[in-house]
């Protein structure tokens, strides 16, 4: 399994289960509120997901995502309002285009496209937020660690 590669250095210890690092960028108006909704409804989802709040999904520079991968994130998920529902009218359309472009280059850069996901989650979709996060963590766990960049990153 790919996941076991992380622990090969220490052969004496039992391999710790792979816990992926996941960064979720959530827009303030829909998805972050959706995450709050998941909390309010006590919908459980894995602790691996760490949320960064941004005003709009279009605030997320693709370079932030690459930075996260470079620093060793195993998966990045970007959540915005549903198309047509953007608080700033057109923000998520920019996101959609920019991320389509990034997606097309991700493999070339050595990151499996499956490690990046874009989802539209509205403020009322707390349960869906939890489901998406759970499925994304499962997907990344199955993919294993983001070995390529993790080996290269400038951090012990």
């Amino acid at each position: 399994m790919l996941g076991e590669k992380v622990t090969v250095a220490d052969k004496t210890a039992a391999p710790a289960p792979f816990e992926p690092k996941i960064v979720a960028f959530c827009c303030n108006w829909c998805s972050y509120a959706g995450a709050d909704g998941a909390g309010t409804a006590r919908k459980q989802y894995p602790a691996n997901v760490k949320i960064i709040r941004v005003p709009c999904s279009c605030r997320v520079n693709p370079l932030f995502i690459l930075r996260a991968f470079q620093r060793g994130a195993d998966g990045v998920i970007l959540c915005g309002c549903h198309p047509g529902d953007c608080h700033y009218m057109t923000g998520n359309y920019y996101t959609r285009r920019r991320l389509t472009l990034l997606m097309s280059m991700l493999n070339f850069m050595g990151v499996a496209t499956e490690r990046l996901r874009v989802e539209w989650v509205s403020a009322s979709e707390g349960a869906r937020f939890a489901e998406i996060m759970t499925s994304f963590v499962e997907q990344i766990t199955a993919l294993g660690a983001n070995v390529k960049l993790r080996d290269l990153r400038c951090k012990k």
């Binding site: 602790a47 760490k50 960064i52 941004v54 620093r71 009322s124 939890a130």
Partner: protein, 662 residues
Amino acid sequence: MQKIGVFVCWCGSNIATTVDVAQVVAAVKTIPNVAFAADYKYMCSEGGQELIHKAVQDYQLDRIVVCSCSPRMHEATFRNCAEQVGINPYLVEIANIREQCSWIIKDRAQATAKAIQLAKAAIAKVRFNTPLTPGESKVVKRALVIGGGIAGIQAALDIAEAGYKVDIVERQPAIGGRMAQLDKTFPTLDCSACILTPKMMDAANHPNIKLYTYSEVEAVSGFVGNFEVKIRQKARSVDAKRCTGCGICTEKCPSRKTSSEFELGLKTRGAIYIPFSQALPKVPVIDREHCLKFQTGKCGICSKVCPAECIDYTQQDEIITEHYGAIVAATGFDLLPLDKFGEYGYQDSPDVITSLEFERLTNATGPTEGHLVCPSTGKEPKSVIIVSCVGSRDTSGRGKTYCSKICCMYNAKQAMYIREKYPQIDVTVFYIDVRTPGKAFDEFYRRAVEEFNVHYIKGQVGKVLKDARGGLTVFASDLLSDKHLMLHADMVILATAVKPAAGARKLATMLTASMDNDDFFTEAHPKLRPVESPTAGIFLAGMCQGPKDIPETVSQAGAAAVKVVGLLAKDKLRTNPCVAHCQENICSGCLACEKVCPYGAITAETKTVINLAGVKEQRTVAVVNQTLCQGCGACTVACPAAAMDLKGFSNQEILAEVDALC
């Protein structure tokens, strides 16, 4: 050196049960620049805020991180708290360890570890925060109410009474909405028109209220305090100023085959019509699709008979542009279409009707002048069956999962008025539950059962069929006696689910207001801010926010009006300082930012700047209008030089969070 204070909230037991707050405090204390860390039972309480104040003074803190509930809940509280003790409110960051830790993770070790990481990310971000000062924007002292039903009328009246100008936009030719269609209202059984018409009159005659009927909102731009709204006033083909409302044109119109919208298709109307007798404004409108003059060029009778000479076939739609400080959405409801509910036979028999159609059938101004008759025969029914929850509380996917809330009460009301006027008619109500919370509501329902002898049967109706004798056969179950029933009825009334009015989603998109999965407008907080949309300056009244009865609608409309008045009473608003700004010395003037800005907040200006080589030069740079900018950040990503950045969510700040989390 920066001195950061970290305050970890227990939120009573909400956080402390699953997150080891002491461990979070111990962990953050080791981080450079953290000069103070403490935990407290309720950080948002007075005691908690005093703790923050005292720590700031004792340790000369200059930045604050609060690990607590969602920033959408208490960011403002802690920013105010910081401001009181002399710290710029934008030097406060919140780590959301309730909604994102304790409430979604059961494992204490995992939740604590995540809480520590979120705290670290917030600390990493706050290091780069800069003091920000909100700007000011003007407030246009005029409100817009969208929808002229009881919710809109009440909201407009309350705003107008407080001394502010208010416009009502109603897409129908007259105001009044659904309430105008009702016969009587629960729990008092007073006539709906008798209590609504005076309010309609007040609204139509109020010096501060302007009505735009037969009009729709076409476009909305701007923001709280100054929305620019385009209203399409559809052509009535009648000069409203000259028309006296005599109605001769509507009587003489030869085209009589159009079904009346107001009468829900139970009656026809002319191509030129006034929707109902108490309509306000009492000005007819020509339905061009069915008008012989418009369709064939011949006719023109209305024009010939009009004594005021106000028929104008050349009238065009008019676009009115107006500015408003606040907007109230009061767009009301429709009934769920019954095409997916074939088992009730609504499509097969005219004697199967919706509750709203029943209201018209018993209304003295309705198609039968209030005589209850079966639409198929014109004869009085001998037995009536009422079916509750048609499309409500439906998890099959055909209907709505929510309870429509008003049906149990109007079922009792309708059963009562049948039994009161026609004691010989037998009335049976099939129900899943009878839900009658509310003042004098349960007493009302009991009166239906005990005084009016309405039969209530717990169970669902499975099928309604036309039978050979001309009536209806109803197959149902009686859950309490565990029996299958086959009953005869002459009329079946379906208590049909309510849903937000058609077009509500389109409007929400224009207002950038959010909606839930059922297309009801979302409130800013379900308990504490129930009449406000999360979008500043947009307020909610009535059914568009969720199912509710008339008393609740009126209360909500009043509450929305108070919020509007509170907003309009201010001369200036503090604007969000988290806006874009351009670092002019590295801006190349390519203006990629200008093209993506949805607010037109970015313009090109020729300026003298000192370039990176330290040389003074004159060139074009992008300049952000701080009042127009709403802070989405689209421009920051478009900028190839990273000259454009967003205050409060800067590249540095977000990258610091990324680094802290990975």
